[in-house]
Symmetry: C2
Subunit: 236 residues, 2 copies
């Protein structure tokens, strides 16, 4: 019962509501591949399997639509979004525009306290034994790093625009299966370089660095999609 010791940390824990849990469940089902592109999301089915009524389900679907994981048509229902090469182009070009602004704002406004989480993620990454690391774990750390970067920009609306893209990027990060050693080393090098240019407070350098960073990620994604038939990740 005493979930609040005297004064633990004044973090205002935002109250969780059913919709939050439902959205998390469905999102996880999509990201883990249990739900594939094109699959229909039928409110009654979800309601029964998650043991809630349709109200929270509807709201969760609406939220996931904002995240770009779900497509909803009036009177016709919602389906899991399918991603194509064109979607990748949209997602990464928009991402580049957003991250450019994020890193520029971070150069101006980030405090050392804002940058500490970025350091922490890099340290955490290094502390994971290479043998036990997974594709999913790297993807999570990647998203967490950029999350922290957006937060360091102190730009609420920019963060929300990023949140509308984040899950879709995560989908792409999970596409590849292998984790070659050189990828792991370049991951660390690239991200610590990002943090370094923020600390340098050189906006132009920072923007150029992150443009190359995102551009590189997009190039690798395109290459991967060309090799492994991209249509596989669409509805079969």
């Amino acid at each position: 019962m005493s979930k609040s010791p005297l004064i633990p940390n004044l973090q205002r824990r935002e109250r969780r509501v059913l919709t939050d849990d439902v959205a998390d469940s469905i999102r996880e089902a999509i990201l883990s591949g249990r739900l594939k592109g094109g699959d229909r999301l039928i409110e009654d089915e979800l309601a029964e399997s998650l043991n809630v009524s349709r109200g929270p389900i509807r709201q969760a679907i609406f939220r996931l639509e904002q995240e770009g994981l779900v497509v909803h048509e009036t009177h016709r229902g919602a389906t899991v979004a399918e991603v194509s090469v064109e979607d990748a182009a949209e997602i990464y070009s928009l991402r580049q525009a957003l991250e450019r602004l994020a890193i520029a704002s971070a150069c101006e406004r980030a405090t050392e306290a804002d940058l500490a989480p970025l350091d922490a993620i890099l340290v955490l990454f290094q502390s994971i034994p290479r043998s036990s690391i997974t594709r999913r774990r790297v993807a999570e750390l990647d998203i967490d790093f950029h999350d922290a970067l957006f937060r360091a920009s102190h730009h609420g609306r920019l963060c929300r625009a990023w949140e509308a893209l984040r899950s879709q990027i995560f989908v792409f990060l999970l596409l590849r299966d292998g984790l070659p050693d050189d990828y792991l080393t370049s991951w660390y090098r690239d991200h610590s370089r990002l943090l370094q240019v923020v600390r340098s407070r050189d906006k132009d350098l920072a923007m150029a660095t992150i443009e190359e960073h995102i551009g590189g990620a997009y190039a690798r994604l395109l290459e991967h999609m060309a090799q492994h038939d991209v249509l596989r990740i669409q509805a079969s």
Copy 2:
């Protein structure tokens, strides 16, 4: 490539649903000033005055939150968003990033058919007698013009990011009361220049032009907010 002349205007007429009407009503109430920053949006009140149940009201509130016109807190209800000078900085910096990408994409991908609406808006603007023009009408044409520009970018996700910002920009456009003649002439000159650089297909020139365009709008807004106490548009 004629666009299916057999069946003329088979625009996919999207079905309207109660939530759409409710969202329009509340949005209009906010934009027209009937609802002011800080005002509470009480579901029962809105439901009764609009003669619908709370379900559609709730969905509409979440949609307006997505548009940035409303702030919602769990178990605490929704209020009309208040805008400050800091919000203006966020909105215009994000807008600049989005429009930069939009005009660059439009340079690459817009067809003449995509640009026709832009021409039409300019012609329409010129056709309105200067005596009967209103601040609101100019604001609408302004938003319509940029709407069409985003559509011409053929970038769905970019359009959705713009939609999350559009209404908030509209609020700022309505702030000023006067409509000096030189503003009207510069409005036309600036926007026809935007259309012109898209037609030139010179991405760098286009991005530089729109950066100046948005930057100028932001500068005028700041000046206005400094003169007329900005706090007036917050909750009194």
